[in-house]
């Protein structure tokens, strides 16, 4: 825990504004605005996020409306509902996940592979 924030947003609060952390963030409640973390972002099954999201890696099980930019790996679990464009190096979408938007994948090289998925 030294030197980094660790943020847990439970179901009993709502966040409005720009949530920025240099530590990991776990969201089980509601966030409206933007989320930015230099580490892992976890969005739980009960969470409702209406925000632009930036993270090192992300595991999404809840509802997200907004664009998601992830440096490393983005996982959409079966209960995830994402409406917005996603950008990540590695993307994993479980069967049952709902995704409406554009998916841009980059493996770090100049050329990038693009994929569009309609959920």
């Amino acid at each position: 825990m030294s030197g980094v924030d660790e943020t847990v947003i439970g179901h009993s609060i709502k966040i409005e504004g720009d949530l920025v952390s240099n530590g990991s963030i776990a969201v089980e409640g509601e966030v409206i605005g933007s989320i930015k973390t230099e580490q892992t972002l976890k969005i739980g099954a009960q969470a409702k996020v209406t925000a632009e999201v930036k993270a090192q890696s992300a595991i999404i099980s809840g509802k997200v409306e907004g664009n998601i930019v992830v440096e490393d790996k983005l996982e959409l679990n079966e209960s995830a509902e994402v409406t917005g464009d996603i950008t990540a190096k590695v993307v994993s979408i479980a069967a049952g996940a709902v995704f409406n938007g554009k998916c841009t994948m980059s493996n770090g090289r100049k050329s990038s592979e693009k994929a569009e998925v309609q959920g």
């Binding site: 825990m1 179901h11 009993s12 504004g17």
Partner: protein, 262 residues
């Protein structure tokens, strides 16, 4: 020279023998000093200020967690090192600091292992443990950096913790590692009702930590004046800005202190 402050409840007859044992042990360990009992007429703050003027740099609190917490503000403002001899039951803060009860704590005082702790600050008052708000939470919000935290319906308590010590029966281990009173950060802690229910009344038992947000400053705002309880003994009102105090509190701790205390 040590200065010992005894809480007023220790004047009760049942504590006579315990106090005698403590005083004898202090004598054995050659850490005796002047002794003072708190009364309705003697405020902790005045005693500490007077002692600081006399050149005392270590004050030993003899009492319970509440006695210790009441003296923190004045001690920090006067650069006093605090020791603590817990007497009675349920002194959870003493347990966290590795302080055994009664005369056994005298040995910890004699060993003089001193640790510096952060403090929280609100309305020019320093606090060691936390501040809490548990009424009309739907009428307040907390701001941090560029965002606002709005409590929802099932929120039962909002607190800002510096030193988190658990309620009786609450687990110490995993949760405690998240909180440190030595990291120059405070934690905004939001609690909800526990879903565990009493076996016969079906009423919820206790509270659960629902959200934790770390930061160095929180701004508490409300539509009306709401009471904020500071370290369980003092009431101030909203609005309030809570931040990490610019001073630290030196405390004598024991070997059995929590593993997250360096």
């Amino acid at each position: 020279m040590y200065y010992y402050i005894y809480d007023s409840y220790l004047s009760e007859e049942k504590y006579e023998k315990v106090i005698d044992r403590v005083k004898t042990r202090l004598l054995d360990l050659e850490i005796q000093g002047r002794h003072e009992k708190l009364t309705m007429l003697k405020s902790v703050d005045e005693l500490v200020v007077d002692e600081a003027k006399r050149g005392t740099n270590t004050i030993i609190v003899v009492g319970n967690d509440k006695t210790f917490l009441k003296i923190v503000d004045a001690a920090a403002k006067n650069n006093i090192t605090l020791g603590y001899i817990p007497i009675g039951v349920g002194n959870l803060l003493a347990d966290c600091l590795g302080l055994p009860p009664e005369d056994k704590a005298a040995e910890v005082i004699a060993a003089r292992k001193i640790v510096s702790f952060d403090l929280g600050r609100v309305a020019n008052q320093y606090f060691f443990a936390n501040l809490t708000i548990s009424k009309n939470l739907d009428r307040l919000s907390v701001e941090k950096d560029n965002y606002k935290i709005v409590p929802q319906g099932d929120c039962v308590e909002i607190g800002v913790s510096n030193f988190y010590f658990p309620a009786e029966g609450e687990s110490l281990d995993r949760k405690m590692k998240k909180f440190s009173a030595q990291d120059q950060r405070l934690e905004l802690v939001i609690k909800t009702k526990s879903e565990k229910k009493h076996w016969f009344s079906r009423r919820p038992i206790g509270q659960l930590v629902d959200s934790v947000i770390q930061g160095t400053e929180f701004r508490i705002k409300s539509f009306e004046y709401l009471p904020i309880t500071l370290d369980g003994y003092k009431i101030i009102k909203t609005p309030a800005v809570v931040d990490v105090a610019p001073v630290k509190l030196k405390v004598i701790v024991g070997k059995g202190r929590l593993s997250n205390i360096n």
